[in-house]
Symmetry: C2
């Protein structure tokens, strides 16, 4: 075990473990040796298996004491792995009830289910599209009002002098919007902060992030996005669409809203993690599709971020949802813009039409593009320095307000001191232009860059005639906007990072184009600044988010022209290779800082010498096929272990002898059983007792009550529970000698939550769960093991 | 078991089983009860497990006798499942040797491997691109010569009268090309017939199709394609590119050519099915990319057809190979066309630029598009009627010649009787135009449609000005070309079906456009025939090949304009839904007729009542950990069973008692062990004997010698072999009660070849292999079971 630089540490905070409830973090299959030893004294629970790493235990105890000496609040740390996250169960619980139901169902039944899935996907696409429209229209209307107020004010005071009043008006307007947005996020639903993409990534990876797909989150997200975009922050409204799509999908597919306490009694079949996760991936794709008008890109995003098992029918449904989504948006916006049927707005952001004739690239430009891909690293290096965590809601609101005020002030100053006047194009009526100190018939080009919504600025950077911006304006703008965007990122407001990245990239790309044109003075024909703006935008965005295939397709679809496919690919690849050399992508950094047990695509390369024996949690709390209710209640109430999956064994004898595996049962199932009092004795006495159906489990999904809310009398504690019908009788198992990559592959490919480790006689010796696998990662010094912590 | 309409039948042909050799079809894990009973008399092999379906056995015997009464040659039948196909092993054989090697490897070692993978992908892309260039250039040059000869001849005889001589010249020229192509295919490499896409689909699905990725196949394929395209058949050169890419990948990734007996001693690590299959999927993607200039479409094609487990790094490498491929093609062709650096030929077929301004579609046209998607079914219904199987090489050549002659004659007749004269466009110098009986300055438009290569005809149907073709010409052309294409499909020539489908679709699409324009006389602005030609082409192609996501992207990339994304999607979806209602896609029909054990994405919906117990093959031939050489030789030589995987068990006792599973070993491994005489006794006597390394297994891969070629003396037969080090000690297992969908999911997701079924004491009771799963499918009367046959 020489390669491992850190040992497991179990940081427990005993003062907190008492307060269990629905929100209490549940440990997932892990166990604290100290507690389990106490428990085994009761003789009711079987601790099966030998201590795979017996000599490790002492170290752990020492480590534990060491940790207790440290400050209680463990800061966000990428060397930790949080235990508070539960896993989703992508594996069907194929118990007797489930099999009975499936076997009763006719072929037509399955056809109907399949049709329902399509209907749900259509609904997801439709609603996601509508939400995108709503955001777009509200932002546009409010921004127009704001713009007119400020413009009038500035025009009044430009001549009269005293522009500081305009500045104050501007700052106050912006701040008030941002304050509303920040209050919503900070006080009502903190999970709605940011773009939500890391959260959706985690969800699709199989980690249950609490509250991430709730209706309330959606409402706060939508309002928050509108406020922060209107508030003039350096943010975009595209990223949050992905999260919104996911929430819509999770809601629609369940046919009810737990928050609103409405159950429409439809789609009951889909009330389980497996199906829900599939729909959420469709929702995320629909979100991408609505945001960028990129349905194929949306599908690829879902697959790149979420899928482990590629299923053709699923992919196709995702595609359908994406298509419906972009189509809905397109249609509604075309009606809104009073050009019904014209379908020219496939996404929230449109890059505008690139005429390929004038912008064709030659072979000799390709190295140039690659160089631009590499250039981004400068920007990237500092991007994460600004990631910080302010935890008190009041402070978060204040910080957001400050950023809004500073943004307004900086923008104003830049506009004020800029003297880059450009002639007013006669047809350009939609873009907000400010005359300021320019001559009549001219406008201030710095003001255009700052005053517009970022989407419009991106478009104008791509398409405006060469000479519209002078290099100094662009350079200053890039720098300022870059620092503002960095500062804004991580604020407690709902907002995306796509558009600021695109904008910064487009600005420095255009700058490159202008410089090139001035160096090769003859080359003004090929060095079109718009082309370089596009390449720069791709490089910047690619460096930040580090997606490749999906981002290429998204950008190609957004530009509406595949001619740029190859250069965009090359640029994205270069920027990923260069970026990965220094640091992970923004979303991955975010996930790491949150200590989420995220499973990557493959086990670390050098982990072949680890086997299931070393990786697994052991000993395991097992249950008998027919188990005493009291024992079950005690196990479930044990807040220090908080297991979620329990191997069911054939009782051989009491004590520490491993017993034969015969099934696996989940905490949630046990809770439902306890709630319905499915006890052997009661079944005998009340012959008419209703048999428990799958429906009972589905009704309780996904918010299973905590064990504390279930009252079990002293008499009932003596009853027995027969788990045979409810357990999954065929859980996946691996032998102890299986190598980590092999365990990982099985776990990842099938989306498991628990994997039972058995010996050669099929006796339970351990349990592998997500955090056991996620804790190994490749660091600078070879394979490293993350600390487990309860933060 | 009421739902199953057919019982298992084991059609054996005892007269053929004697002739074993490399080419002999190997049974994969299946067993004939009759033979196994004879074998168990020898006491050396353990037949473990109980007969899961004891009462089934009598039925089988009856069925067997019944079958023996039938004609020996079992015709191609979609109700059969052939046993002659072996599986690929996508699961790593993680034995001691492998783990030792992996553990010895440093992190840098893994980095180097990863870099080699990228280098290989670059090479694959580069070579595939070069092959595409080669085909394109040769076809263009030869076609030009042919065209000039015929044109001169026709021009001479148009005035002199006696065009029948021209017809004969034309037919003879075409026939001679086709004869060469057909002889190559029929006599040298029959697997090179057709597009090769079904074969590559099977390979990526995990079925080893013999000779499909050999160098000889590639050479025959390339020459064959050139001959059939130049020979004027109704075929395209795009489909075969996918196969060619796959062969290139299989060759390059192994760092040697077994056919040429050259070993470059590089890339030895990749000499196993897992890695090879990954590279072949990259090759197929590179092929698509070169054919259509669609790198993203290529990646999606690979995934849609091949991948079960989506791996980000792999996908990215596939993307890289695709990119290099289209880029190579683009660059070489730009040099060839004397416009170096212009990069305007991303694929073999270019749809030409669609100017989106003039061709924008409105909302109201969408139902129209959908209707067009549904329309194709008319064409489709008859498409497969022409699928036929002529098996004698001579007949195949004659048939191909006949088709070539008829094609020439029909085309000539059509041109002769057509009087659709169009004015000669002044700038159209590249397209081959015939004046024939038209006035000076005009050309015969029917001749344009027939005389051009199909690619050029497609482009002209898309882009020529409205009014270029009259409706009668188009209608006649569509019908004729459709029947020619149907007849041509299934000939023993290398050729694809993409272009003929596109051409037929474009023709009737354009016809629709013209009719629409004449109905709504005012609508000539929107009913651009080129737009409808594109939609028609998409509908036709979608109906034939039934790909959705990948085909959408391919078409969008080929048109170079994403504006059409949505209508193309809708059309493809409609055509798939309508088509699936009647029949499977062409490739799937092809695969079914070949009785390939193809695994679909999911188990049939209504198969939950089947469990591993019913599905598995039982009893299983097991080996001891330390086994007698004679026994192993006997088992391997048993041509009636021809197992490929053998569970290794701890010997408990002789007889029919199941023994504990402790590993799994493959036939190929045993062959290598026997060849190197890795016997316990020899190791003792010769202390210096070299330890067997993974390299020895890799050197033998993939053409392991047959057991007959290995001489084992009588003395050696008494030796013992220790399998511990070579077997995979942790094979995946499932309990007997596991439902079929669950077994299927595990099998498919991990790309397994053998899955051991164990009882609750970890004793071997059965073995599930590909054909056990592929044999269940949903028919019209619920779940059906295919017959197993040795054809």
């Amino acid at each position: 075990m020489a390669n491992i630089t850190k040992k497991v540490s179990w940081s427990s905070r005993p003062d907190e473990t008492g307060a269990t409830g629905e929100t209490t973090p549940l440990l997932n299959g892990s166990e604290q040796p100290r507690h389990s030893r106490q428990m085994s004294g009761e003789g009711a629970i079987f601790h099966i298996g030998r201590h795979g790493a017996g000599d490790l235990e002492e170290e752990m105890t020492t480590e534990e004491e060491f940790l207790r000496g440290r400050p209680k609040e463990i800061p966000h740390n990428e060397k930790l792995l949080s235990l508070k996250f539960e896993s989703l169960d992508y594996d069907n619980i194929e118990n007797q009830l489930f099999l009975d139901e499936e076997r009763r169902m006719s072929y037509m039944g399955f056809r109907c289910l399949e049709i329902s899935r399509w209907v749900i996907c259509a609904l997801i696409g439709f609603l996601t599209g509508l939400i995108a429209c709503f955001i777009d229209i509200v932002v546009e209307q409010v921004a127009k009002v704001k713009y007119n107020v400020i413009k009038e004010n500035i025009e009044t005071f430009t001549e009269a002098g005293g522009l500081s009043i305009s500045l104050i008006l501007w700052a106050v307007l912006n701040c008030s919007f941002v304050i509303v947005g920040a209050i919503l996020v900070a006080f009502f639903e903190p999970i709605a902060a940011g773009s939500g993409i890391p959260q959706i990534k985690c969800y699709l990876n199989g980690v249950k992030i609490p509250r991430v797909v709730r209706l309330k989150t959606l409402v706060v997200k939508v309002c928050g996005v509108i406020c922060s975009v209107v508030g003039g922050l350096a943010v975009g409204k595209e990223g949050p669409m992905i999260h919104s799509g996911g929430v819509v999908a999770a809601g629609v597919s369940q046919g009810r809203s737990t928050s609103l306490k409405r159950d429409f009694k439809i789609f009951e079949y889909f009330r389980r993690d497996t199906e829900k996760r599939d729909f959420v991936s469709a929702g995320a794709a629909a979100g991408v599709s609505a945001a960028f008008g990129a349905p194929v890109g949306g599908v690829l995003f879902s697959l790149e971020e979420g899928a482990s098992f590629w299923n053709q029918m699923l992919t196709w449904r995702i595609f359908f949802a994406s298509m419906i989504s972009t189509f809905t948006l397109n249609f509604v916006l075309s009606v809104y813009h009073k050009k019904p049927g014209e379908l020219s707005n496939p996404g929230l952001i449109n890059f505008g039409r690139f005429e390929s004739d004038s912008l064709a690239y030659t072979f000799y430009e390709i190295p140039l593009f690659i160089a631009m891909g590499a250039e981004l690293l400068l920007c990237l290096m500092s991007a994460v320095l600004f990631c910080r965590y302010v935890h008190r809601p009041c402070l978060q609101v204040m910080e957001a307000t400050l950023v809004a005020a500073v943004t307004a002030a900086v923008s104003f100053t830049m506009i004020y001191f800029s003297n880059d006047c450009q002639p007013l194009a006669p047809d350009n009526t939609e873009v907000y232009q400010l005359q300021l100190f320019c001559a009549d018939g001219e406008y201030n080009s710095m003001a255009t860059a700052f005053f517009n919504t970022p989407e419009k600025s991106v478009t104008s950077l791509f398409h405006d005639q060469p000479g519209t911006y002078n290099p100094l304006t662009l350079g200053l703008f890039t720098l300022t906007y870059f620092f503002l965007a960095c500062w804004t990122y991580g604020l407690a407001v709902s907002a995306g990072v796509f558009i600021p990245s695109l904008l910064i990239g487009a600005a420095w790309g255009r700058l490159c184009g202008i410089l090139l044109a001035s160096i090769f003075s003859s080359s003004s024909t090929w060095a079109d600044p718009g082309k370089y703006a596009l390449i720069g935008a791709a490089a910047q965005l690619g460096g930040i988010v580090r997606m490749t295939l999906s981002l290429t397709v998204i950008l190609v679809e957004a530009t509406g022209n595949v001619t740029y496919g190859l250069p965009i690919m090359l640029v994205l690849m270069t920027s990923k290779i260069v970026g990965d050399y220094f640091q992970e992508g923004l979303y991955d950094i975010h996930i790491k800082l949150q200590s989420v047990p995220f499973l990557h695509w493959e086990a670390p390369a050098t982990s072949h010498w680890l086997t299931a024996r070393e990786v697994m949690s052991s000993p395991v709390t097992c249950l008998n096929k027919i188990e005493k209710v009291g024992t079950i209640v005690d196990i479930l109430s044990n807040t220090s272990t908080n297991h979620n999956g329990f191997p069911v064994v054939v009782q051989v004898m009491e004590g520490d002898v491993p017993a034969k595996l015969c099934g696996l049962i989940l905490r949630s199932q046990l809770i439902v059983l306890l709630k319905h009092k499915v006890f052997v004795e009661l079944a005998r006495s009340r012959l008419t007792q209703r048999k428990l159906l799958l429906k009972d489990f589905r009704d309780a999904y996904p918010r299973f009550p905590p064990i504390q809310s279930i009252h079990v009398s002293q008499d009932e504690r003596e009853c027995m529970m027969d788990l045979t019908e409810f357990m999954n009788p065929t859980p996946y198992t691996v032998p102890q000698e299986t190598s980590l990559p092999r365990v990982f592959k099985l776990f990842r490919a099938l989306g498991l939550r628990h994997l039972v480790v058995v010996d050669d006689e099929n006796r339970v010796v351990g349990l592998v769960s997500r955090k056991d696998l996620a804790r190994y990662h490749l660091g600078k010094h070879g394979l490293e093991e993350l600390h487990l912590a309860q933060t």
